[in-house]
């Protein structure tokens, strides 16, 4: 891969034209940006899963960097910003660091959805820093070298005599200086250095990487109300739409009387949208749209619709009955997903077999910003503004729904008011495009209400988990059988899958890293009657909760300390060769094993670190307890200790959480801390409250009254985060998601320590009240 050197013909253009939204436009002036074919590949010290992602990575500074004559450096953010600070802060910061740009003179410009130009944009799977730290370093370093070459050419001195330093290039022997603005035009005319000529900084010279000294790019706009989310788009002449969607997935309108709705002042049009047969990927649910002059009129109009629905076959979905099916499925042998040793024989010969079952329900993402999108067509050109996690993929899907080519439309990525996987699915953006089309291309914003969001989402799967652990005479675990049954999100993509796909299997299940000679994981059959979607940390949530809870149960039964027993189960520091015993190819987050192995030494280390910092073993008053859990996900290692106090009526108070994370080289420690703090709150919400149930095929919850989120008065008082320090040589790994899985089991284990009550089903709800 030598692609960085292949460009000899440049077309200067102004990146600011891409910044169509108010407030994100770059400054003018001569710029480095150029209309070029995408460059694949990057200066990579180690391979990552980025290579196998659609459209890979791009590191060309002529794509990502522009410099105005005023010296303002604009850096393109091509991925979606949903709050973890990766897309619009960490990645541009990496570029800025390598190019010796002064962060105070950097502007971040959001790209449209266009993976051919920018590389993969699917902001999901905790991949942004993991996959883009290397290409963004190469991008910044190349830009720095071009600026240095431009300065050396101006001064007619050898390039070895010049050095870029904080937004200017210095001629070392004479002390002459030229600012980046003055060098921009000459630098833009140069070819990008060949990959083997790119010189990355030494880690000792990093200004921002690893320091945590950079504020998030949008902090001023966020705190002044100027930040633009999908819900906030306003276009001239824009109409507002809300949609009455079928209560049951796959349902359609049987009868419709819209006469009263049309009489509501401000209502302009009623449009019926057809459902898409399964597998529908991210296609809208269909229903009846009310298009009006403002949101309020649209809502009033929707309330006045008289609709009867033909629910279709998913009407059978009933959470109570389905739970019984899942629990029956895990009581019998399932499809073997990983097999090591002979678990049947070992269980038969065990001195004692300990069994436990766990159940975790559906949950909804409940992003603070409900989905919303705006579309319009002017002069044959489509534009969509949407808070989508995968703007490139959304462009393909929306274009397909409109029957046009992706190149005939622009998808503008707004800020996302939370994503958590919900906004990976662009159904709401397709709705906006279809309604605008129906209105002849007039701008239409589709607003989802909170009720729409809670009742028509893509839900975290429901799961039953069953464990059997066989002990020998010395109380050592010699057999481990774990059965899991959960409807698969693959039902969005393929007809009627009966078992999880490799991604779901790989989420903290088949890769269980225990030092047990006989292990088997079996998946039970489970049919999907809804839109299952990935929720932050995905199947890791229930896997980690049940596995880590069962470990603590075993410890209790064996009279061992839960932390010591967890370490005993993890076993000595080693690399676990999961691949040799799986029956479906092991996904492992799409990463190459030689770079991101399952390293129990790192899992041990975070476990010990969290325990030590939490004061594991300290005496606590009655009604209080500590619980611990450790889990590898998104190729990072996290351990969490929760300190809980259980009061009257089972009231849960959490004075303190201690979380240790090993995410390889940590690009932005301050944002990693904020992710871990937030993960504790989200973990608490899903443990305490998260419960979406279906009856007659429809979701029974509707808003924060019956789908509550943890508030400040019940959230952990203090969450301490400890980051295992690594140099740049240890590959960066996931951060956005892996903080969530260990929290619920650590909490439940703490509750057990405090009360002796074992939580085997989520949410905790009122289980502690009695």
């Amino acid at each position: 891969m030598n692609a960085l050197s292949t460009h000899d013909k440049l077309v200067i253009s102004n990146v600011s034209r891409r910044g169509l939204l108010k407030g994100i436009a770059a400054t003018g002036g001569l710029v480095l940006a150029a209309q070029l074919p995408a460059v694949r590949g990057a200066l990579a010290a180690y391979p990552t899963g980025a290579a196998s992602m659609p459209n890979g990575v791009v590191s060309n500074p002529k794509i990502f960097v522009s410099i105005g004559s005023d010296g303002i450096v604009s850096i393109v953010a091509a991925r979606a910003e949903m709050g973890n600070g990766a897309a619009r802060t960490a990645l541009p910061m990496i570029v800025a660091d390598e190019m010796e740009a002064d962060w105070d003179r950097v502007r971040v410009v959001q790209s449209p959805g266009d993976e051919k130009t920018y590389g993969n944009q699917d902001t999901d799977g905790s991949r942004s820093v993991r996959h883009f730290i290397q290409p963004m370093r190469a991008c910044g370093a190349a830009a720095r070298q071009m600026l240095e070459t431009a300065a050396a050419n101006t001064w007619k001195v050898p390039v070895g005599e010049v050095e870029a330093k904080l937004h200017e290039v210095v001629h070392k022997p004479s002390g002459r200086k030229l600012g980046y603005g003055a060098l921009a035009a000459d630098a833009a005319a140069l070819a990008v250095p060949a990959e083997d000529k790119i010189k990355l900084k030494e880690a000792s010279a990093f200004r921002y990487m690893g320091k945590g000294n950079v504020r998030i790019s949008d902090i001023v706009d966020i705190t002044t109300g100027k930040a633009m989310y999908g819900q906030d788009i306003v276009l001239p002449g824009m109409r507002f739409a809300v949609i009455a969607r079928p209560p049951v997935v796959g349902g359609k309108v049987a009868t419709l009387d819209s006469s009263a709705a049309m009489k509501v002042a401000g209502v302009e049009k009623i449009v019926t949208l057809a459902p898409t047969p399964a597998p529908a990927k991210f296609a809208p649910l269909g229903g009846v749209a009310v298009i009006a002059k403002n949101t309020w009129a649209a809502l009033q109009g929707r309330d006045a619709l008289k609709i009867t629905w033909d629910d279709g076959p998913n009407k059978v979905y009933d959470s109570k009955a389905y739970r019984a099916q899942l629990e029956a499925a895990v009581k019998k042998p399932g499809k073997v997903e990983r097999n090591e040793g002979d678990v049947d024989k070992a269980l038969a010969s065990a001195t004692k077999v300990i069994t436990a079952e766990y159940y975790a329900p559906h949950i909804a993402h409940a992003t603070m910003e409900p989905p919303a999108a705006t579309a319009r067509m002017t002069g044959g050109k489509w534009e969509v503004w949407a808070p989508v996690q995968s703007p490139g993929g959304a462009r393909d899907d929306i274009a397909a729904a409109l029957g046009i080519k992706p190149e005939e439309m622009v998808v503008h990525t707004t800020l996302l008011g939370g994503g958590f996987g919900r906004k990976s699915k662009c159904d709401f953006a397709i709705e906006a495009a279809l309604l605008s089309k129906d209105m002849g291309g007039a701008p239409v914003k589709v607003v989802w209400t909170r009720e729409d969001d809670i009742q028509h989402g893509f839900y975290h799967t429901v799961t039953a988990e069953r464990f059997e652990a066989g002990l020998d005479a010395s109380n050592k675990v010699i057999a481990w059988r774990h059965r899991s049954a959960a409807p698969s999100f693959m039902a969005n993509f393929v007809p009627d899958p009966k078992h999880p796909g490799d991604i779901e299997l790989g989420m903290g299940w088949v890769d269980t890293p225990f030092n047990v000679p006989n292990m088997r994981m079996e998946s039970g059959e489970a049919q999907s009657h809804l839109r299952v979607g990935w929720f932050r940390s995905v199947n890791n949530v229930a896997h980690a909760w049940s596995i880590q809870s069962f470990i603590a149960e075993l410890a209790s039964q064996l009279g061992k300390d839960p932390k010591d027993f967890l370490l005993e189960m993890i076993g000595p520091a080693r690399i676990v060769d999961v691949a040799k015993s799986v029956t479906t190819p092991w996904w492992d987050y799409g990463e190459p094993q030689q770079v991101y192995p399952v390293d129990t030494g790192r899992l041990r280390k975070v476990t010990e670190l969290a325990a030590e910092k939490a004061g594991w073993g300290k005496a606590l008053p009655k009604g209080q307890g500590l619980g611990i859990a450790a889990h590898r996900s998104f190729v990072s290692y996290i351990a969490t200790v929760v300190h809980v106090e259980i009061g009257d009526q089972g009231k849960i108070t959490i004075p303190r959480v201690d979380t240790a994370i090993d995410c390889g080289f940590c690009v932005h420690p301050e944002r990693v801390r904020s992710q871990m703090e937030g993960a504790a709150v989200m973990g608490l919400t899903l443990a305490k409250y998260g419960d979406i149930t279906f009856k007659n095929g429809a979701v029974q919850q509707s808003n924060f009254n019956d789908y509550p989120l943890v508030r400040i008065d019940e959230s952990p008082t203090q969450t301490n985060v400890y980051i295992v320090e690594h140099g740049i040589d240890v590959p960066a790994s996931g951060v956005g998601e892996p903080g969530v899985p260990p929290f619920a089991p650590a909490l439940c284990n703490a509750i057990f320590a405090a009360t002796g009550k074992r939580i085997r089903q989520l949410p905790i709800g009122d289980q502690l009240a009695t």
Partner: protein, 150 residues
């Protein structure tokens, strides 16, 4: 006709008197800093001040806003440097940021009435504002910092 003041400016509204102030601000005035989160007064994302009190704009009908002085995040401070805004930046509170304007408006109203709140008063006053990203620890710290700076 409904007359009201928004961020010091006199406004006249002649539409449905039952329309929540939230949609008037967002759709009619295009002041989108006041966020929609739930529509039922449970999340606080739409918090504004009416005559100095923190209220949920989704729960105030336009007829009830008549004659009142409404302050939104856009009008909280002429230079957008209210002590609460400054503290929010210094502490690095936001993740996605969507709920934060409501949080800031709520905190500003608290400190206007209670310049030196106890920890329990901060927690109690902020309990009506949801944050799905879970920035509560920093919200608390920022309100505390703003109180010191006030």
């Amino acid at each position: 006709m409904t007359d009201l003041r928004v961020n010091g400016q006199q406004r006249a509204y002649s539409g449905d008197p039952a329309m929540p102030l939230l949609w008037y601000l967002r759709d009619e005035l295009q002041m989108t800093g006041t966020k929609y989160g739930c529509g039922v007064g449970l999340c606080g994302a739409c918090t504004v001040h009416i005559n100095g009190e923190a209220v949920r704009a989704c729960q105030v009908q336009m007829s009830e806003a008549a004659g009142k002085a409404v302050t939104t995040i856009e009008g909280l401070h002429p230079k957008h440097e209210h002590p609460v805004q400054v503290a929010w930046r210094d502490v690095g509170v936001p993740q996605c940021g969507y709920c934060q304007t409501g949080q800031i408006m709520n905190a500003a109203a608290l400190l206007a009435k209670t310049p030196a709140p106890t920890d329990a008063q901060i927690t109690s006053a902020m309990a009506g504002n949801l944050c799905r990203c879970g920035c509560y620890q920093r919200i608390h710290a920022a309100v505390r910092a703003a109180a010191k700076g006030a």
